[in-house]
Symmetry: C2
Subunit: 270 residues, 2 copies
Amino acid sequence: MAHPFDPGYVAEPFLTLCAEYPEADVYPSDQFRLEWGPIFHRGRLDGSARVLVIGQDPAQHETIVRRILVGEAGRRVQGLLAKLGVTRSYVFINCYLYSVYGSVKAKTRRNPKLIDYRNRWFDALFRGGQVEAVVALGQAADEAWRFWVASAVPPLDVAYAAVPHPTQPESSSKGDKTKLAAATKKLLQNWNTALQTLAPSLQHPDVFVPLIPYGDQWADGDRVPIPEFDFPAGLPAWMHEQDGWARRAGADDLAKRRNITLTVPKGLVA
Amino acid sequence: MAHPFDPGYVAEPFLTLCAEYPEADVYPSDQFRLEWGPIFHRGRLDGSARVLVIGQDPAQHETIVRRILVGEAGRRVQGLLAKLGVTRSYVFINCYLYSVYGSVKAKTRRNPKLIDYRNRWFDALFRGGQVEAVVALGQAADEAWRFWVASAVPPLDVAYAAVPHPTQPESSSKGDKTKLAAATKKLLQNWNTALQTLAPSLQHPDVFVPLIPYGDQWADGDRVPIPEFDFPAGLPAWMHEQDGWARRAGADDLAKRRNITLTVPKGLVA
């Protein structure tokens, strides 16, 4: 059985972007988990991407896989892309190279060095002129996009939608099922609006599909597995088929910050 | 500060070798930790390698880094290469793609499918005709080499040394310091013999250095850090500067087999 993989950073400007990146002087260690290193992207860097997705920051699964949005949030976005007929021609970057620890100060967010480096990624991804639509997940992603657009000459002709982060319903409802249902409904309505904005601009999807909007809750097929070809070579199937296999364990905050515990899902080892 | 990295599998035949690899039908799960996926190599795949090192199988640090011989054994071999003036122009592969669990049965070791796939790596690494010396670490590596040499046409003109595995003194002495000292002395004598075999054939080292043999024990400089440029993009410095940061934790054998626990070294997180 063949296991297609993502070859990663094989050409300029990505070779340089992944070798020379901002560190502690730009990403303070009281706001970011610098100790796990930067995590750059997921998806196509060969100029074939038609949709750019901007996320926020990597978490523990992303730290192991070294690709972003590989868990539940990633599967939901993968589903959004599928509704647009985009099954391969996408690329994801985050606002932040490192996992957020606590919260990000305004001064950090607006640090020109942080913004300039990120803008070099935008420059690189738009160089070929193939990207037709952009989706920002959450407020920090929206701000990242706006910072770049303000600096871009000439003005861009690309469809853009800022949407709530895919797991915002879970994080805002804190275990309250009624609130979760309401927040999910609201998110999906918002995502439907985004689909209406984006679809007309997507001239080159991977497959032409009728645009089927979301209902009031997640339906079968709305969450789409992250393709194996987005992962580095040799990673086992369970790392892309599910999440929950990586957690930060420890007796206190410092111990948790220093730890990532990986557990192979049950039933895979006899 | 620039962080050079290994771009990995970017061209044929490595793209195919890393997408189509033997699985459970060749590597039985009672003898190998298939659940963590295959780990392929470390070093140069661009035809610039002058020395090929054959190791045995990956362990837990290698599973996270997705490169082989990145721990103590790797640093000792890195030191052996340095004595030959080889600081960059090397490549490592293992006999086995997966971490050995328990021991490997003769039938598995001699499975033509296992050997054929590995031989395709040897074929690929010798294609450019640049490799001038080969080092096999341990018996399984020696056997792997002999299987390939027997199949290679025309016969190879390359210096070859089979040496004890770099951590054989630790594994054979089981905590007995006297035995460890004796086994280390014996290993280093053996490695000195290997240096004498290999050095004359190395026409193109990275640097020309006088051949300084090992003493009776490890000396300052005999263990050489694994270069950052051997690691995938974005991995933090502590992952290549030391080991001991990954262990298999659990209450019983099954739990341990399903687990890898990562701990950032002390002092890195405030």
